[in-house]
């Protein structure tokens, strides 16, 4: 079979989406993909999916065990647990995707500048990346929360501020590796504007590994948001968050253990789903990237 024919062959069926085909070929990755899609749907359509408003208090029916009306039961204020978990998906994913998008953009920009810019600027930026990278993330987050107060905005800022340096370092390394390749030199000989080289030629070639790294960090962000909300330092009540649901359940763990049991499930499923999807993405796109550390 000729090369062209082979190329045409692979374009049939799944061939139009080679990445999707690669992901679907591994049953675990496929399951992870399904879980992630379910959570994304939950976040997108929360008000229509949730049987009750997530903040509707009904003290007469507090800590009700699971029943036909309340599938997951109710919490200490009589709020429907299932509705709070569905809306919690919206909180978790807004913060996860928001902070990863902010951190990814900042990291991309600064990484390109450090890699392609003058040497002194590179030195300064690397020093900034290294300094921020060597701070213990949770401690840094707690210090900022003390100053800025709690809330969604603070959370996105804190997480983005602590995670962009690793993205910037990745992009910088990629840019440095490509900087002296022939096609970039050719552009430079033709007197192309540096912005053109950066945006048209370097950007598309360095962005791949970044996307994998970002996808692998989403479960970490979900965990940090839930953890801080568990401590009462994340999103403000009564905004439903998986972390604050867990805390509410934790305070009534002896009398109503089902709150904790159901409250922890979305966290377990979401972190597993996003992690295995990230692993699948990495395996099919760039297996050289490093393993994730436990959070």
């Amino acid at each position: 079979m000729s090369f062209v024919a082979e190329a045409v062959q692979t374009r049939r069926g799944w061939g139009h989406f080679p990445l999707l085909r690669a992901l679907a070929s591994n049953p675990v990755t496929l399951a992870a993909l399904v879980i992630v899609i379910v959570f994304l749907m939950m976040a997108a359509f929360a008000p229509w999916l949730a049987p009750y408003p997530p903040t509707k208090i009904d003290v007469l029916h507090k800590l009700q065990p699971p029943s036909a009306e309340h599938w997951f039961g109710t919490d200490h204020l009589g709020r429907d647990l299932l509705s709070r978990i569905i809306h919690g998906a919206r909180t978790a994913l807004t913060i996860a995707i928001g902070s990863v998008a902010v951190a990814g953009s900042v990291g991309l920009l600064l990484g390109l500048i450090a890699g392609y810019g003058p040497r002194w600027l590179d030195g300064v930026l690397v020093l900034v990346f290294d300094s921020l990278n060597s701070l213990p993330m949770i401690m840094f987050a707690l210090a900022i929360i003390t100053v800025l107060g709690t809330g969604t905005g603070t959370l996105i800022f804190v997480i983005a501020a602590t995670s962009f340096p690793s993205y910037a370092r990745l992009i910088r390394a990629q840019t440095l590796a490509l900087k002296n390749s022939d096609y970039i030199l050719a552009e430079r000989l033709m007197d192309a504007h540096p912005l053109r080289i950066l945006l048209v030629h370097l950007l598309p070639n360095v962005v791949g590994p970044l996307i994998i790294l970002l996808s692998m960090d989403i479960p970490v962000v979900i965990m940090v948001e839930a953890g801080l909300s568990f401590l009462g330092l994340g999103v403000r009540p009564p905004t439903p968050s998986w972390g604050s649901i867990l805390y509410d359940g934790y305070t009534s763990i002896r009398s109503a253990p089902f709150v904790v049991i159901f409250g922890g499930l979305p966290l377990v499923l979401a972190t597993l789903g996003f992690t295995f999807l990230g692993e699948g993405l990495r395996d099919s796109l760039d297996p050289r990237l490093k393993l994730r550390r436990p959070a």
């Binding site: 213990p136 707690l142 330092l233 597993l272 393993l291 550390r293 436990p294 959070a295």
Partner: protein
């Protein structure tokens, strides 16, 4: 090696200075003055004045900064706004409990994770290997405080095998160890998976080496080749990764400590953040950052000592 060490330590000192200045500057960014924020809107003017004086906020800014640095360098981290106890004493009380938790968790993870990684290599390519690989990723993914809550529910609330909260009676080692088991397992679980994966990955690189082939040609059993000759080389990157990890564990222990109400650094700082107790927050963050940076530098130097390629990268 010396240039590398000097550069690395210099960077560490720079980072700590940066953190101190940033934290000090941050206090001035707070909307409203810190005294009002700490005391609430209904505080009397006298009370507010007292607090401002005690926090040194009536001094000019430059004096405050110099004062702050001088005090921090001499081990004086200021006083708790509420109890008026020295912050350094509060930290010295809480730190050993957090250190014990972190070190015990890492030790547990090593003791369980390394043999699992070896098993994965011995049975490479089989179902056992695949299962270990999947389980490892799974336990890395699940947040430690969720593990903590579920294990609290199962082992402390339902079966009552282990204490649910606290750090055990003072002076009673037995009760302290029993109080450590659940928090240690909650933190160690993810690290077991991580260490197993690291050991497997670095061992697979070693397995093609000549001395392994020689050992095999002598007819040594596979477990002996893996556990003795391959592990000896493969353990080096793992140990250095674990050293770096200790710094991270100490700060993420915050969540697990909150679940088990252990009176460690995590509880100290969480309570302080909730009550806007700035001196305690600043002091704790500073000490934890110093510990984290020191551990990271020590681990980096260890890696450089063991693997000359690292310091060449830093030089170039």
């Amino acid at each position: 090696m010396l240039t590398y060490a000097v550069k690395r330590i210099g960077l560490g000192v720079l980072i700590l200075t940066f953190v101190m200045v940033a934290m000090y500057a941050a206090v001035f960014l707070i909307p409203g003055d810190p005294a009002t924020v700490a005391l609430g809107p209904r505080a009397t003017p006298e009370l507010k004045r007292m607090l401002i004086e005690r926090m040194g906020l009536d001094q000019p800014v430059w004096r405050q900064i110099i004062e702050f640095f001088r005090n921090a360098l001499t081990g004086n981290l200021g006083y708790d706004v509420w109890s008026n106890r020295p912050v350094s004493a509060l930290i010295m009380e809480a730190l050993p409990k957090t250190l014990a938790l972190g070190i015990a968790a890492l030790a547990t993870a090593l003791i369980i994770g390394v043999p699992i990684g070896c098993l994965s290599v011995i049975r490479r390519g089989t179902v056992v290997d695949t299962a270990i690989g999947m389980l490892s990723v799974g336990v890395i993914a699940v947040p430690s405080f969720v593990v903590a809550i579920y294990s609290l529910l199962i082992f402390a609330v339902t079966f009552r095998w282990l204490p649910a909260i606290g750090a055990g009676e003072a002076g009673d080692i037995g009760s302290q160890v029993r109080a450590l088991i659940l928090p240690v397992m909650a933190i160690a679980l993810g690290w077991i998976g991580y260490i197993a994966r690291m050991v497997r990955a670095s061992m697979m690189e070693v397995m093609g080496e000549p001395h392994i082939r020689t050992a095999r040609s002598f007819g040594l059993p596979e477990w002996k080749i893996v556990g003795k000759y391959a592990l000896r080389i493969a353990i080096i990157p793992t140990i250095s990764l674990v050293a770096v990890g200790l710094g991270g564990i100490l700060s993420s222990a915050v969540f697990v400590e909150a679940v088990f109400a252990r009176p460690g650094i995590g509880k100290l700082i969480t309570d302080a953040v909730n009550t806007r107790n700035y001196p305690v927050v600043m002091g704790t963050v500073l000490v934890m950052t110093a510990i984290y940076v020191t551990i990271t530098i020590a681990a980096d130097l260890l890696i450089a000592r063991l693997d000359p390629r690292v310091r060449d990268v830093f030089r170039g």
